[in-house]
Amino acid sequence: MKSVAVTNQDRNAKFSEKKQPILQVDGLSVRFYTRRGIIQALRDVSFSMQKEQVIGIVGESGSGKSVLALSILNLIDKPGEIMSGNILFNGQDLLQLNEKAMNAIRGSRISMIFSDPMSAFDPTLPVGDQLMETIVRHHKEINRKDAREMAIDLFRKVRIPSPRRRLDEYPAMFSGGMIQRAMIADAISSNPELIVADNPTQALDVTIQQQILELLAELKRRQGTTLILITNSLPILARYADEIIVLYAGGIVEHGTKEAVFARPSHPYTRGLINSTPRIRGRRLKRLKTIQGFTPSRVETDITSAKCVFLDRCDLAMETCRRRLPGAVWLGDTAIHYSKCFLASELNQTSI
C-alpha cells in the first residue's frame, strides 16, 4: 500500500471532489489564557462531515473534546480565544457571523446535547414549559396550545411514557435517563441539521445508556440528522459512529472510517486506547496493555514546540519525533484514513 504525507491543500482538494460538506472545520486552534499560563486547547483541528453522517470524537479528559463542541457553536468566551481557523456550516463561516446571526443558528440549525442534562434545565420550572419556550422561539407564529401539542409529540418521539403528565413535572421528578430524553426532545424541537452530543450518556446506567444511544441512532435514520458524538468510550463509537476522530492533547492524531480505525489503528495512541479497554468478549488477559505515563499538563511554556504531542508516552518514539511535528499520513485503505505519526504506514500493516 502506498501512503503519502499530504498537505492541507491536498486534503481540501480531496474534499472538494465530494458534494459540499454540511460542516467543515479547518485549522481550528483555540487557546485559554489562565493564571498558570496559556493552554493550547485545540491545535490545527481540521475535518469535514457530510449530511447524515455520524462522526465520533474520542479522547480522554483534557483532550479538547468539549472545547471542540463549544467552538462549533461559537461559544468560546474569555479567557478562551479562537486563534485561527474556519468553521464552515453549509459553506457559511460561523466564526465570521455576528452574535445575532449566530443566535439564529444556535439551537435551531445546530443543537447541542450536554452530558449533564439536569443542570441544563431550570429546576424551578416544569420541563414542559421550558420545552415550549424553545418551541415558541423557533416557530414564531405558533400559539400556546399548538406549542403544547408539539411538546407532547416531541416527548412521544423520544419515548417518554405518559407525555401529557410528564410535561407538567419539574426536572427533579425525572430520572437521569428521562431528563436526558427531555434534553434530546429540546434539541430536536427545531429539526436541526446538525446535533452535537457531548458525552450524552456519561452519567447513565448501561441499559439506559443503550436506550439513549439507540434513540439518537433512530432519529438519525428517521430524520436524517447529522450527528457529532463526543465520548470517552471507544466501544460506543464502535457501534454508533461512521467515522472516528481520535483527539489527543488538543490535536487530531487519527481520523478514519470506524472499520479502518478499529481494524488497522495506525497511531500508537489509538492502539493504546484499544488495548487498554477491558473486553467483554474474547480471550481474558492477565494484564491489560497500558499507555505509560499520564496525560500531559496542558499549560505550555513553549507553544510553538515542534515535536510530537504523544512523545512522552509513546513506546515507539524515535529521534525524529523529538525534532519534528508529524504531519498527516494518508493510508488509503478506506476513503478517509490518516494518522499523524511517522510510523503510520508501518502500524497500519501491523496487527494490534
Partner: protein, 324 residues
C-alpha cells in the same frame, strides 16, 4: 473446604422513609433483600448492577458503616455486627475500602504522607515516626508513587495518581480484603488500565481478596474470578467468570452483556436486546420477579411467585422462573 474470609448469610437492609401519616406504617426502601455469599482468600468477587441495585449498601454493610436489618455477616466465623468496639477496630484493619471519586476521597488540606499515615497512627500506636515513614514510603513505591509525593498535597496529582494514593492508604495496614466500590469508573481508559493492573499485582503479591463493585461489565470480566449480578437488592445470577460471560442465563444478565457495546463486536453487532423501561422503585417492591416489568420472556408465574435461586451446576446459580 477452605474457610471463607467473609460469609454473608441472608442479609437484608431496609431504610424506613419518613412517616407520611401518624396512623400508617412508614414506607420502607428495601436496598438489600436477602443476599448470601462467601469470599475466600486471594479471590476477587465481582458485583455488577445498575444504580439503585444495592451495590453500595452492600459495601457499607461489609465495612460496618451500616448494620443489616436482618441476617449476619461473619468474618472468620465472627459476626462483625456484634463485636465490641475494640473487636470492630481490629476488623476494620483487615477490611479496607477504595472509593470511586479520586477527588472527594482525599482531604485536600493534608499532605499525602499524612493521609497515608493516619490509619497507622490509629491502628499501630507503637510504631515510631521513623518506622511509619519507612512503611509509608514502602507502600507508595509499591503502588507506583514517587517518594517525593510524601510532602505534596493531593491537588498536585492527576486522577490516576490520586487513586494510587487511595490504594496506598488502603494497603498500609496490610489488610486481607479490599472493597473496591467503583474504584476505577471515574478514570480515563488508559489510566484505568494501569490501576487495574496494579490491583492484579497487589492481589498476587499480597494474597489479597477483592470485593469489586462496578457497573462496567468489562472491568468485572477482566478482574473477577466469580461474579454476581444484582438487580433491585437481590442476586439474580451468579457463577464463575466463564459462567456469567460465556453462558449468561438470566434475561437481565443476557441483556447486560449484549446491550453493552464492545470493540470486538461493535462493528457488526446490532443492539437487539435493548431492555426497555427503568429499574422500578425500591419502595414497596411487589411480589413476584422484580425484573418482570422489563423482561421480554416474562411468564405468568413471574407475577405470582418470587423466583428461587436455581442451581445450574456447581458454580452457576440463577434466580429465574425460566429455569425452574
Amino acid at each position: 473446604m477452605e474457610q471463607a474470609l467473609i460469609e454473608a448469610k441472608n442479609i437484608h437492609k431496609d431504610y424506613p422513609l419518613k412517616k407520611k401519616s401518624l396512623f400508617k406504617k412508614p414506607e420502607v426502601i428495601k436496598a438489600v433483600r436477602g443476599i448470601s455469599f462467601s469470599l475466600y482468600k486471594n479471590e476477587s468477587l465481582g458485583y455488577v448492577g445498575e444504580s439503585g441495585c444495592g451495590k453500595s449498601t452492600l459495601s457499607r454493610l461489609l465495612i460496618m458503616l451500616e448494620k443489616p436489618t436482618s441476617g449476619e455477616v461473619l468474618y472468620k466465623k465472627k459476626n462483625i455486627h456484634q463485636t465490641t468496639k475494640t473487636g470492630m477496630k481490629q476488623l476494620r484493619e483487615k477490611v479496607q475500602l477504595v472509593l470511586q471519586d479520586p477527588y472527594l476521597s482525599l482531604p485536600s488540606w493534608m499532605k499525602v504522607g499524612d493521609i497515608i499515615s493516619d490509619p497507622l497512627k490509629i491502628h499501630q500506636k507503637t510504631m515510631t515516626a521513623k518506622q511509619r515513614r519507612d512503611k509509608i514510603i514502602g507502600v507508595m513505591t509499591e503502588v507506583g508513587l514517587e517518594a517525593d509525593a510524601f510532602d505534596r498535597y493531593p491537588l498536585s496529582f492527576s486522577a490516576g495518581q490520586r487513586q494510587m494514593i487511595n490504594i496506598a492508604r488502603a494497603i498500609v495496614l496490610d489488610p486481607e480484603i479490599i472493597i473496591l466500590d467503583e474504584a476505577v469508573s471515574a478514570l480515563d481508559v488508559s489510566v484505568q488500565a494501569s490501576i487495574l493492573n496494579l490491583f492484579s499485582e497487589l492481589k498476587d503479591k499480597r494474597g489479597l481478596s477483592y470485593l469489586l463493585i462496578a457497573h462496567d461489565i468489562g472491568v468485572v470480566r477482566h478482574m473477577c474470578d466469580r461474579v454476581a449480578v444484582m438487580y433491585l437488592g437481590r442476586i439474580v445470577e451468579r457463577g464463575s467468570n466463564a459462567d456469567i460471560f460465556e453462558n449468561p442465563l438470566h434475561p437481565y444478565t443476557q441483556a447486560l452483556s449484549t446491550a453493552v457495546p464492545s470493540i470486538d463486536g461493535g462493528l457488526t453487532q446490532k443492539a437487539l436486546d435493548v431492555i426497555s423501561g427503568e429499574v422500578p422503585s425500591p419502595i414497596n417492591i411487589p411480589i413476584g420477579c422484580s425484573f418482570r416489568s422489563r423482561c421480554s420472556k416474562a411468564l405468568p408465574a413471574c407475577e405470582k411467585e418470587t423466583p428461587r435461586l436455581i442451581r445450574i451446576n456447581e458454580t452457576h446459580e440463577v434466580e429465574c422462573h425460566l429455569f425452574a
